[in-house]
Amino acid sequence: MALLASSAATVLAVDAPNPWFNPNYIQDNADTILAALRQHFILTVTAVGIGALLALPLAVLARRFRTLSAAILSGSTIIYTIPSLAMFAFLFPFTGLTIETVIIGLVLYSLVILVRNFLAGLQAVPAEVREAALGMGYGPARMLVLVEIPLALPTFFAGLRIATVSTVALATVGVLVGFGGLGNVLISGFNNNFFRAPIATAAVLCVLLALAFDLLLALSARLLTPWSRGRQ
């Protein structure tokens, strides 16, 4: 009889309620979720930031030297085809279980997108504009900073938006070496007996983070290029 009573009181794990959205989970684990969100934010901003800093000089050089631009275009196709898990596996023997492993991988992917867009933006500056600037006595450096980069800004920002949104998505794979931002929360839900609340929370936060970055960049592009507003 005692046995029967105890077995009746036992709730099997499969029968336990496992809602997708659970306010209690979010409340109890706010610290963990916010830390993961912060890591995700840092991963994305660092990777895209470094990528942009490297992409600009590379794009300027690639425009001047035809061989370099051909090398960059074919090299970027190859890098972009390598799956992120393989990329992190390549880096793992050298940088180990550190955040650097994830950041280096993400920088490579964002660099590849950005250098292509930056190059396209610079190449799209009309030759007449460049000639007019030359006629007005602009040197190469002043022409780049005051004429070419401002005119290429819309294309630059289009590249930044694509790079940022895909970096947010890719960062989750960093969980392979323990630094995946919200990816850590995703996997923890899977490993904790398919606990749905962390999975749904992290997935939604990932999408919201990507949308927030996208919106912010679209807004910055509008503010920085007031002349292109009429054309849209």
Binding site: T77, T81, M87, P93, V168, A169, L176, V177
Partner: protein
């Protein structure tokens, strides 16, 4: 470079390839899952794209689908599927991957159909071609390069995503990578990463070649369209 030597030694040991659940088994598993997923996605997306593209309907839906799918991490979707009745394992992975592969195939094929010169379609109609003839003999041949670009994008993406399945208990070549990191085995990490990268690059190359073979028209025009950078990676 002892890591490099370890990786070469690992790849050179025949037993690592031929034993049960060795690299060969994983490779076959990876290719089978990827091929099945891409084929299933094409079977769903292509008829839809042909219908949308021919009638000009569903453009908004197609664009929205491809934009939204870029913002959703594939790893997140894979894990979400794993805790639904779809579950995990190879069959579930195939279903999940097929769903990921639909947007690129659908979008590219749709755009390919819409980019067919309307004058050509109109003159085909004026020559007495039925709608089905217009689709099969006019629009489809002209849209082949775009359709092949979509298939290539989808296939490479599927091969890449299939490695992520290893993080949620799936098979394929992602498994030795996850194992290598768990065991801190640097040589294996390098070796397995190399195999996955090669598989993705070979997939890309094979499909570029296939596109060249199936594109109708004179040889000079059969060169692939300017290799566009895919905006999705996984």
């Amino acid at each position: 470079m002892s890591v490099l030597r370890d990786a070469v030694v690992y790849l050179n040991d025949p037993l690592n390839w031929t034993r049960t659940n060795g690299l060969l088994d994983r490779l076959v598993e990876h290719i089978t899952i990827s091929a099945a997923a891409t084929a299933a996605a094409a079977a769903i997306a292509l008829p839809l794209a042909i219908w949308f593209g021919h009638t000009g309907r569903g453009g908004g839906f197609t664009v929205a689908l491809s934009n939204v799918s870029r913002a959703v991490p594939t790893l997140a979707l894979l894990i979400v599927f794993a805790v639904t009745p779809i579950g995990f394992g190879n069959r579930a992975t195939t279903i999940a991957l097929a769903l990921f592969a639909i947007p690129p195939i659908l979008t590219n094929a749709y755009v390919g159909f819409r980019e067919v010169d309307r004058d050509i379609v109109e003159s085909a109609g004026a020559m007495g071609m039925s709608p089905l003839q217009i689709i099969a003999r006019v629009e489809l041949p002209l849209a082949v390069p775009a359709i092949m670009t979509g298939l290539r994008t989808a296939a490479v993406q599927v091969v890449a995503t299939a490695t992520l399945a290893a993080l949620v208990g799936g098979g394929g070549l992602g498994q030795p990578i996850v194992l290598a990191v768990a065991q801190q085995n640097d040589g294996l990490a390098l070796a397995a990463g190399f195999l996955v990268a090669v598989l993705a690059l070979v997939t890309e190359a094979v499909l570029v070649l296939a596109a060249r073979l199936v594109t109708p028209g004179p040889v000079a025009r059969r060169l692939p369209r300017r290799l566009q950078l895919r905006t999705e990676t996984v």
